[in-house]
Amino acid sequence: MSADSTPRRPLSFLTATLRIFDIAVGQLLWSRRTVFMALAAGGPVVLALVLRALDASGVSALRVNGARVGGPVMFGGMIWLLYLRFVVPVLGAFYGTALVSDEVDDRTITYLFTRPIARGSIVVGKYLAYLACTVLVVLPSVMAAYVLLTPIGGGSIAETFPLLLADLGLLALGLAVYGAVFALIGASVPRPLVVSLILVFGWEQLALVVPGYLRQFTVAYYLQSLVPHAMPHDETMTAIQSLFSEPPSAPSSIFSLCLILVVALGFAAHALQTREYVLEQ
């Protein structure tokens, strides 16, 4: 039998969070979901490479009425269309909802629930692992796309560098907020992914085009107000959206996003602490 005479005490919330973080990082990086993270982060880089190659070869695809489309404009479009509308919410939804529901579906949550740690620390630790992984993968992808696209049409990296920093901060904040919201959904509802997709591609899209205060109940509203590039009008919805656009100030957006993050993560921890998970046999 294991001899162990040292009297032990339950881990503090912070220590437990960090230990859960250690376990979760490995799980996140070496799971099948890594394929998605690679695709989501690698896709824009591949696209940027193709555009750069097309530009270098002088193909007319990148010319509108004979004039070249500038690299910074392309990069701005990529930030809006690929990162802000796809990569950030989708990674948030896919990873955020899985933080708890994966363990419940795989029935491994029992091993964590029968340890002397606060249950809330499980969701917070896993959330931090999600944030570390996604930020470390997405931000380098943004930087690579920036470096590849900006010089097209004579754009200057030195001049636009502050914009890149703003983009990086904005996307990191987006990943943090969406992750927290979806962690809450994952800890609270039985089919979290469907709910999350409805939230991102249903509710957020709809609320943004409805005049009035409804848009204030979306994450996208605050995130979009922080984007340093002009919104591309690629679809009818975005055209309508820009018509009614009354963006809040940057400080108020950052404050609102931080508030959403803290509240969502707090409720997620509370849900895990108090909810009972009946595992399928």
């Binding site: 039998m1 032990r8 029992t110 029968t114 002397p116 740690i117």
Partner: protein, 309 residues
């Protein structure tokens, strides 16, 4: 610890929507090894999940080692849980998994690895310590699950169907391990639906059926119940009429009937009856009796009997 109640419940009930998992159970489990016995769906796993704080009681209360268990993570310093489900972090090796879980028990990094290695040795998995759990066989998975529950040396070990999926050798070793564990003053609650598995571990059992505790006490008393309640035996013989004539001469026979060429007898004292039948079969040089079976020599028969009585 062995004298005081290690687990006590008061009017404990659990229902899942409209389905009752556990129905008004009041019990007190003393120290040592206790077997939780019952057929599938009896409520054993529900009771164990309530005792281990994985489920919240719908009604009533449960105390483990003198403390409430729901929302009390400190209790897991003294409790080890081996759940029923075959679920693991398949990409981790056995040792990585144990060390990670031990870190959550408050162990330092080195300490956790050392305790993990020791626990894997106890379940004979030291050679597979650095293999991925995904590559383990069913029996190895059962053993690594057991290892994680004993690795932090808890006072109370709760095991839900720990022997299922193990080969006979591993089963024997596990039984020996649990007996040694109990002999060192620790407590074990183990569930199974197989009577002889429980008998091999302990004589102290709780019999469950339909979400209720039917009986608690010594396994031998349960055995006696099996032996004492009217017991049906089916005997096939080449000359059933002559055999029946021999059998009715004794007063422990309650009834006798012929069915499909066999003699069905009901006896009040199966032990005496079997002894006599063995003698008759041995004494008969023609080998008239060629098959003896008992349609109700199983746990379900005892449950049916206890429910009726």
């Amino acid at each position: 610890m062995t004298e005081a109640a290690i687990v006590s419940t008061e009017h404990l009930s659990k229902w899942y929507g409209q389905v009752i998992g556990l129905n008004d159970v009041t019990l007190s489990v003393a120290g040592g090894v206790t077997g939780l016995l019952g057929p599938n769906g009896a409520g054993k796993s529900t009771l164990l999940k309530l005792i281990t704080g994985q489920l919240k009681p719908s009604k009533g209360a449960v105390r483990v080692l003198g403390e409430p268990v729901w929302g009390n993570p400190a209790i897991y310093l003294r409790m080890g849980v081996c759940p029923e489900q075959d679920a693991f972090y398949d990409r981790m090796t056995g040792l990585e998994w144990l060390a990670a879980l031990l870190r959550l028990q408050g162990y330092g990094e080195r300490e956790a690895v050392a305790a993990g290695v020791a626990a894997l040795e106890q379940v004979d998995l030291q050679e597979a310590a650095n293999k991925r759990i995904g590559a383990y066989s069913k029996g190895m998975r059962q053993r690594v699950k057991l290892a994680q529950s004993i690795a932090h040396s808890p006072d109370l070990l709760i095991l839900d169907e720990p022997l299922s999926g193990m080969d006979p050798l591993a089963r024997r070793k596990t039984i020996r391990l649990l007996r040694t564990w109990a002999a060192s003053g620790k407590n074990v609650i183990v569930s199974s639906h197989v009577l002889h598995e429980i008998e091999a571990l302990t004589s102290n059992i709780l019999l469950m059926h339909n979400g209720r505790v039917l009986a608690e006490g010594n396994v031998h008393q349960i055995r006696d119940l099996i032996d004492e309640h009217p017991h049906t035996v089916c005997i096939r013989s080449r000359h059933p009429r002559e055999l029946a004539r021999e059998l009715v001469a004794h007063d422990d026979l309650l009834s006798l009937r012929f069915e499909d060429g066999a003699v069905y007898v009901q006896t009040a004292r199966p032990d005496v009856f079997y002894a006599r039948l063995t003698g008759m079969a041995a004494a008969d040089p023609t080998g008239d009796i060629y098959e003896v079976t008992s349609p109700d020599d199983n746990l379900q028969a005892v449950f049916d009997y206890l429910v009726k009585s």
